[in-house]
Amino acid sequence: MDVVNQLRRQFVDYYTSLHREGFVDDQFTQLQKLQDENSPDFVVEVASLFFEDCEKLINNMARALEQQQRVDFKQVDASVHQLKGSSSSIGAMRVKNVCIAFRSFCEAQNREGCLRCLQQVTHEYSLLKNKLQTLFRLEQQILAVGGSIPVVE
């Protein structure tokens, strides 16, 4: 198999594994459809914005939860709500699912539960970031050898 096909094969396998392992859902596939000659870097741009947003929101949540007494759960919830919205729009399924649980703990004003979710969401975000960076690197490699990025349905 020549280099282009090998890389394309690798890409498809990796992309499929991200779906299978629940890192991304169908919404992520929708984003791929929006990438065309007019917006060739759309997915990378949205993903970058998402990761910036994640970091900012996670920091907000951590700061609010640091307060030993009288945690402002409304403030934590507001950040979790934003993160749930962002992760849902890009198809970051695992991050989104943690946010759903996180919101319940905010509602119950359960600081321990919130801290656990904060840890989980931080973990999922880093995992996803690495996975997507690998995916994007594969895309660059394919383009560098003159190939085109496979569209995986």
Partner: protein
């Protein structure tokens, strides 16, 4: 029904084209009798909306960027705002559709929809208002209808869903000119 003719004072004096046509009076027309001419076209076998001016209101930057991407891919001319104040400042009769996120705390989408109704007293000038929401429940649906929204879409929105929402919306409306 009508006539068209040309009058002129002679060679080199120019000419005037005159026409008489019979037009209907808006408001008295039954919408179902109007010819359905949605401003849609097909690009690569898919429906698209070239030049359709859409205003997107969403406080969340990531979700706003994705919504914009969907609309741009369908050929729309997109303006984005992140607050209801900005939305009310920016919205004009040129916008055919306003897509607003209604489930973010801090933005009162419902009130914004009502103020848009107030701002555009002539029905045909008012943009179509669609709520984008992360949950649908009876309460949200009812509230949206009460404040005069023209549609509700559950997020996240796929490309096919956005396409069919716009196409349904436009088909039920009086034909418009996309600039």
């Amino acid at each position: 029904e009508g006539h068209i003719w040309i009058e002129s004072e002679g060679l080199g004096k120019g000419c005037t084209a005159i026409f008489i046509v019979k037009l209907g009076i808006p408001g008295r027309l039954n919408e179902s009798k109007l010819p359905i001419m949605p401003r849609m076209s097909t690009i690569h076998g898919q429906i698209a909306f070239p030049g359709l001016k859409v205003l997107v209101m969403d406080e969340n930057g990531v979700s706003r960027m994705v919504t914009k991407g969907l609309l741009v891919h369908l050929g729309c001319d997109v303006t984005m705002v992140s607050s209801s104040d900005e939305c009310l400042r920016v919205v004009s009769h040129e916008h055919k559709v306003v897509l607003m996120d209604v489930c973010v705390p801090g933005i009162d989408g419902y009130e914004t929809a009502m103020r848009i109704h107030e701002k555009f007293t002539k029905h045909h000038e008012r943009p179509l208002i669609v709520a984008l929401t992360g949950n649908t429940d009876k309460v949200i649906n009812e509230n949206c209808m009460k404040v005069g929204m023209d549609g509700i879409v559950l997020k996240p929105v796929s490309l096919d869903k956005m396409r069919s929402v716009l196409s349904d919306l436009l088909e039920h409306q009086v034909p418009f000119e996309a600039i």
